[in-house]
Amino acid sequence: GDSVTQTEGLVTLTEGLPVMLNCTYQSTYSPFLFWYVQHLNEAPKLLLKSFTDNKRPEHQGFHATLHKSSSSFHLQKSSAQLSDSALYYCALSDRGQGGSAKLIFGEGTKLTVSS
């Protein structure tokens, strides 16, 4: 079945260093991929999502590239900020195949940025 794997449970960085959070997936179809961010005591909210035309989505300095050959959608940012400290979830949608709108979530990566 469909699945999402986030290999790092915890990533700790110093402010100013680059961020890369890994996400790989398995899907029967060609899915949409999402990154959600959840700050402390808040709800998850969408950070960015893949496009059907293969444009690279960007938001708040973060970007992700969908690589179908390697089934990956890694999240990147050139320079980490203290405010980036949060829990990040990668998720996929199977494009509603079979009528389901479910998202398959990875287990999340907690990013901690220190000064």
Binding site: F32, F34, E42, A43, P44, K45, L46, K49, Y89, S93, R95, G96, G99, S100, A101, K102, L103, F105, G106, E107, G108
Partner: protein
Amino acid sequence: EAAVTQSPRNKVTVTGGNVTLSCRQTNSHNYMYWYRQDTGHGLRLIHYSYGAGNLQIGDVPDGYKATRTTQEDFFLLLELASPSQTSLYFCASSDLRGANYAEQFFGPGTRLTVL
């Protein structure tokens, strides 16, 4: 602005107690979801629905019932609460139309403690 609200925001009950968590969305979305979030487990889908009167089983349904009374309202019922159900519960809504295809919008969460 899409809106998902939950009530109560905090709830304390005793083992064996009866609890109902409420969720309302004003997004005109067809799909609604209940998740629980626990440290080390990420977001886990309990139940979801694609319309009034419909209910689909999620990944961790044991001990939970749900009911979708209208397009706007989705309820999660714990009829014999147990300490293992102590968790943070999120409701979300989504649809498979338009620019927000498959994107889930989350409510603020309900923190449930079962003593």
